[in-house]
Symmetry: C2
Subunit: 220 residues, 2 copies
């Protein structure tokens, strides 16, 4: 079992912090795209909660003695690429991205918790536990689909693209950060789930994503 | 003296809430433009504090029994026009806008406080008192100017344009919302400062803006 100050755990926290920071920026951008005050307020609320998580992870990294800035900065290019490749063209795409992204992040947090020490596990439970905060998106998307059923095809494709890009960036993380990959898969010096269990984990996350798409009335 | 539930006071709170909401969105956008983590974290921090102020004003409006959504929504087009007309082309322009905008908003809050009831006055003191939060911008701008002295002319012009647009939108508010204008200037049924004092108020705000520009080493 790894300890709270092991390099792969620190690395993982850096990835999560970078993810939260970009979630904040993306949600705030969606707030700016929204015209009605309810949507603006809801998106701003979630954006600032994500920023609060970011700050919590930074504090946690500093508490472990890690150079939080360097650890997080290493993940900024990957996050930046993900968000540049999945820049929503309108509010509806932004809302779907918020919903899908929130879900993937929560799934990832749950899955990864199995591989870290109990202290980090407890921290992750706290920091990432507010899943479902993007649920407010569901009626918005459903209403938009009721008004314009033709949008369903475009949004279904968009959802697939989001999941595809998330998996592509996950592979890039695994290639660039072998420590982090070993935390999950295992390696010469480290126990882990093995590749079969890793594949199962991705399958579970993909199924969970498909379920969310179906909840919205979209083909997964 | 007006009371806390008078239309002009409610109107004023709507204007302030709309301002805070757009400040949040703009600052979050600047965070996304920034490449280094320090700037991202600082801008995100201020953005979320502005969002917190927005929420405080919404709560305050609801506590007075006002239809917060309608009151705030009335100001969204004006704020939207201001921000569309002053969209920063890069991070440096964004930072200057954050600094200048924060200053103008704080000045406005101080000036307007003289015309409202003590209860609203106290609320404004609390909600808008965190002025100077954009001070972190100063060393960034100074460093950028040290590295590229040629940017000073462009930024000085940018600062003038920001103040000019703020005054233009203030005039639009005064024309569109006579109740609010009368709160300051006075009217048939209401005491107020009169046009001469109103002109003085704008002169003080302009001088205060000029001083901030000089602090940055820019010609006002």
């Amino acid at each position: 079992m790894v300890s709270a100050t092991d390099a792969p755990v620190i690395d993982l926290l850096g990835l999560i912090a970078a993810g939260e920071l970009f979630a904040f920026e993306t949600l705030a951008r969606d707030s700016a795209l929204a015209n009605d005050l309810d949507a603006k307020a809801a998106l701003g609320e979630i954006a600032c909660r994500e920023f609060g998580h970011f700050r919590d992870v930074v504090d946690r990294l500093r508490a472990t003695g890690a150079d939080a800035d360097a650890v997080i900065a290493a993940y900024l290019p990957i996050m930046s690429e993900f968000h540049n490749k999945t820049a929503p063209r309108d509010l509806l795409e932004g809302l779907l991205k918020a919903y899908v992204g929130d879900g993937i992040a929560a799934d990832f947090g749950r899955e990864i918790a199995a591989f870290v020490d109990p202290e980090t596990q407890q921290f992750l439970d706290g920091a990432l536990s507010e899943s479902g905060q993007a649920e407010f998106v569901v009626p918005y998307v459903q209403q938009a689909l009721a008004e314009d059923p033709g949008a369903a095809g475009r949004l279904a494709l968009w959802g697939r693209r989001l999941m595809g890009e998330a998996l592509a960036q996950a592979q890039r993380v695994a290639a660039d950060r072998p420590d982090l990959a070993e935390l999950v898969v295992g390696g010469p010096d480290q126990s882990g789930a093995g590749l079969a269990e890793f594949a199962q984990m991705l399958a579970r996350m993909t199924e969970s994503h498909s379920q969310r798409m179906r909840n919205l009335g979209l083909a997964p």
